[in-house]
Each structure stands twice: as C-alpha cells, then as structure tokens.
C-alpha cells in the first residue's frame, strides 16, 4: 500500500526551482533513501511533505488523503513526524519534557499525563537516553540531541518518519548505532524516508533510493541499481 505519494511536486525560491515536477511514492513499511548533491532539493522536499513550506503546484497525499495546504501540526497529527538537519531540540527543557511534548500534542486523541510519561520513558529507553532524562537538552552531545529528536518524533506516534541527515557529523561507531536504530524503528512498523550523505548507511539500510539533482528526480531504484547507474555516478557518486 502506498503510504505517501507526490505528483508533480514543485517549489520555487524566487526564480529558482528548488523542487521541480517530482513524482514519488513510498510504500508502507519501506525505508526509502533520498540522496543527491547539496542543493538538490532534498530538505525542501521534506519541508513540503511536513508542511513547513507550501508547494507551488502538484499534490502530496498521505494514506490517500491530500495533505498539501495543511499546517505542520495538522500533518503531524495525521501521522507524519520528522527530524531536522540542524537539530531543533527545546534547548532549555529537560530531555524528558522534550519527548513529553510530542506525546501531549502530537497525537490526535491526546493522552493522560501518566500515560504520556510512561511512554516518553519507554522511548528514551528505546533511543538510549534514559540516563540523561533530567538533563537540559542543550547540554547533550550532538549524537544525543539527534537521538532526542528521534524520540520526540516517535512520541507523536507517526506512521511515517522523515529523518533529515541523522548520521551527519557522527563518528563510525555512532553511525553504526544510528543505522541499527533506523532498522529498529522500521521493525516497529513505521515507514521511513531518510536523507543521508553517508553512502554506506544508505546502501545497507534502504529498500529503495530516490536521487534528486537540481530539484529533479534523476533516478530511482534498489541500492544496487543506484550504485551502478551511470547517471547517478556522474552527478553524485563519482568514479
């Protein structure tokens, strides 16, 4: 089943087409990688899906329902969560409160405080942050702030999770842990789209890869297919 699909998705910044007539789809349960050179429009596409930006033309559907034109909080409550390329944690709030906010406001039904706390604790355990739950988010290391963003996103009970460069700036051990985290999230039944420059991670974790270049989709396929595609090698991977 298609959980997300976009038709002719287009966004201009001034005269520049940041994303141009991109058609894409994501099936339920997949991990889809979104790659491309800097400025290819990957994050812009995320912003269009999550409602941070409004697209100029085209349509995006989540579980068959049109979500273009909806506000970020509405899209979140429908079941789409995200993390950010530059981490956006609530810096002065304790780690636990960061996650609690997701539980309180991210679901359409809402939940009692006790349930929310229990769930937030569970999620901190899941991403490995239980020990620092009372620490202000700003005092965490980069990798832990990124984990916190994941936990906060998961607290909104998403069906689709958008991960924007989760592994950028992490060392090899941390990258391996992040890859393992991504597969554990998928095992919870959550569909994932991830933007990533770490090719090793993309190739081993993703079921399918979409390649953007200058705002256009230039290739799409399995990791093997992408790795051997002449066009992709030319513009992105290099010889």
């Amino acid at each position: 089943m298609r959980i997300l699909e976009g038709e002719g998705v287009t966004k201009y910044f001034g005269g520049l087409a940041a994303v141009s007539k991109v058609d894409f789809h994501v099936d339920q349960g997949e991990i889809v990688g979104l790659i491309g050179p800097n400025g290819a429009g990957k994050t812009t596409l995320f912003n269009l899906i999550s409602g941070a930006l409004v697209l100029k033309s085209g349509v995006i559907r989540f579980k068959g329902a049109k979500i273009t034109g909806l506000k970020p909080h509405q899209i979140c409550r429908m079941g789409v969560a995200r993390t950010f390329q530059e981490v956006k944690v609530f810096a002065n709030m304790p780690v636990l409160e960061n996650v609690l906010l997701g539980s309180f406001f991210g679901t359409s039904t809402g939940m009692s405080s006790a349930d929310a706390v229990r769930e937030a604790m569970g999620l901190l355990e899941f991403v490995g942050l239980s020990a620092v739950r009372a620490t202000p988010a700003k005092d965490l290391t980069l990798v832990n702030q990124k984990r916190l963003e994941v936990a906060r996103a998961l607290a909104t009970k998403p069906e689709l999770l958008l991960l924007d460069e989760l592994m950028a700036g992490l060392n090899p051990t941390e990258t391996a842990e992040a890859m393992e985290l991504v597969t554990r999230i998928r095992d919870k039944g959550i569909t994932i789209i991830m933007i990533e420059h770490v090719m090793k991670a993309i190739m081993s974790v993703c079921d399918r890869i979409i390649v953007l270049h200058h705002g256009e989709k230039i290739a799409e396929g399995t990791p093997q297919g992408i790795a051997t595609s002449k066009k992709v090698i030319e513009v992105y991977l290099g010889e």
């Binding site: 941070a52 970020p72 979140c76 406001f105 991210g106 909104t156």
Partner: protein
C-alpha cells in the same frame, strides 16, 4: 528528592500565601488613605508586569502593546462607567482588550523578534492617534471625565484582578498549555512539527494577557477622573512591565512581582522626594541591575539561598 522537598514545603507556602492574602484584604482597615493608593499603584504594576510575563516570558516575543490594552480598558470605563455597574465595566474592559489582542495577534504574531516589538509599539501610537482624531473631529472633545469611585473600592477591585491573574498565571505555568508555550519560545518550528498549533497557542495567550491589562485599565481610569488619549495610551506603560520583569527576573513567578513592588515603590518615593533626579536615579538602578544581576532579583535570591543552605542544592 525533589518530590520530598515539594511536599514538606507545600503547606508552608500555602500558609504564607493565605497570610499575605488576608493582610492584603484587611489592609484598608488599619492603613486607609495614601498607603491604600500606593498599594493600588503597586498592584496595578504587578498586574501589568505579570500579564506581560505570561505571554512574553515563555515565548520570547517582546510585546510593547501593554499600553494599548491598558488604554482600551481605560476608555471602556470612560464610555460605559456611568451607564453600567463597576464590575461589569471592568469585565467589558477586559473583554474589549481580549478581542483587540485576538485581532492584532492573528495579524502580527507571524512577525518575529524586533519586528514584533516595533509593531506592538506602533499599535499603541496608532490607537492613541486614531482616538485623538476621533475625539477632536467627531465627538468634538479632547478628553473625557470618568465617574469617580472611592479609593477603597478601586483597591479591592484591583486586588480581585490581581488574585485572578495570579491563579491564571500559576495554572498556565503548570499546564500542558504552558509547556507548549515554552516550547514555542525555544524553537517554534520544532513545536509546530510535533503537533502544537503554535498560532492558536500564541494568540490565545496574548489575548488572555491583554484581558488583565484591560481590566486594570478600566478600574484605574476611575481613579484618574479625567482621561485623554495621551493619558490612557501612555507609552511609558508599555515599557514599565518590561523593565520591572527584567528587574525582578523572569525565571520564577515571584520575580516579576518583586520587581514591580520595588520598582513602583522606588518610583513613587523618588517622584515625591527628589523629582528632578527621579529619572536619573532610576536609570542608574536599571543599568546596575542589567550589568550585575543578569537573572534579576530572583537570581540574587537563589544565589543567596544557596549560600545560606550551604550549597546543598547546588544543582537545583
């Protein structure tokens, strides 16, 4: 450990609050006259400051519209004061400011930082000048007389507004709504992406904060007996709450209260004793506070408390 301390402290604090409330409620019985008027002024500034902090504290949106909301209340009182009983006039004053804030908030809360501050400042001048134009050219007057109410009644009305405001501020701070408000101040984009309707939360809080300022304006108008647009929409009333909040420190609810009390008292004393130096001394005090007490009086108290309690709670 936190919860244990919380339990042992709670009855003490509740008792202290009750005592303060009883003292405030019986104050006019043993100290009538000028002290009641002074205390009314202090309560008015507390109301303005705490209302300002409810919105601008957690969100970081610096509003300079306090004078506008206060003025709307003042004019409500001038227009309706003779026709309706006082509590209803105060209620309508608050409601009118609530509505103005809803409208203004919906239009301007997308502005951030300095732009929002400048717009809210402009709002005060805009309403003031529009009103002046209207009064001069349509009603053919400049100012209006307000029905006089005795000082004790003004005091009690202000006390009721103050208590209602403190309860509101307390519950906002303790609620999920307050948490959402804080998250907006920390990172608005992230807040929107975890399901918080940031526009709604901001506009509602802005309006709640405005309604208390409006109510305070409605009752204060009766003390002034005569108002015109410059008195009602006095720009100083936009800056005072900001200064008092910074002076007191915004980390705790008692910070702005403390700031307002000391500031108002200082202001009244200086105006009556050394009027020619009043602004100068005021400025020096403010600069000293900003330079040496970045967290306001609250920061100083917490530091002192740590020293007294032997640094046991160094991390709290």
């Amino acid at each position: 450990m936190d919860s244990v301390r919380g339990i042992s402290k709670k009855p003490f604090f509740l008792g202290l609050l009750l005592l303060i409330l009883i003292l405030l409620a019986t104050f006019p019985l043993y100290l009538p006259g000028y002290p009641v008027m002074l205390l009314t002024s202090i309560l008015m500034y507390i109301v303005l400051t705490v209302s300002w902090v409810i919105f601008s504290g957690p969100t970081g949106y610096m509003s300079l519209a306090s004078a506008a909301f206060f003025g709307v209340g003042t004019y409500t009182s001038a227009i309706l004061g003779e026709a309706l009983p006082l509590p209803i006039v105060i209620g309508i004053g608050g409601l009118a400011s609530f509505c103005v804030a809803l409208l203004v908030g919906a239009l301007t809360l997308r502005l951030r930082g300095i732009y929002f501050a400048i717009f809210t400042f402009g709002l005060v001048v805009l309403i003031q000048q529009l009103l002046l134009f209207w009064e001069l050219h349509v009603t053919g007057t400049r100012g209006r007389f307000v029905i006089v109410v005795d000082h004790t009644t003004v005091y009690y009305a202000m006390l009721v507004i103050f208590v209602a405001l403190m309860l509101t501020a307390y519950f906002i701070r303790r609620s999920k709504f307050g948490l959402a408000l804080q998250s907006i101040g920390q990172n608005e984009e992230a807040a929107a992406h975890i399901g918080i309707n940031v526009t709604l939360v901001k506009v509602i809080t802005f309006a709640i904060s405005a309604s208390f300022m409006g109510a305070a304006g409605a009752i204060m108008a009766t003390r002034w007996t005569y108002i015109d647009p410059y008195i009602a929409f006095n720009l100083l009333l936009s800056f005072m709450p900001v200064l008092m909040a910074i002076f007191g420190g915004m980390g705790q609810l008692y910070g702005p209260i403390l700031g307002a009390i000391i500031f108002t008292y200082l202001k009244e004393e200086l105006i009556t004793r050394i009027p020619e130096l009043y602004m100068l001394i005021f400025g020096v005090v403010l600069i000293a506070v900003i330079l040496f007490l970045p967290n306001g009086l609250v920061g100083l108290i917490q530091k002192g408390w740590k020293r007294v309690s032997g640094g046991q709670h160094a991390n709290t």
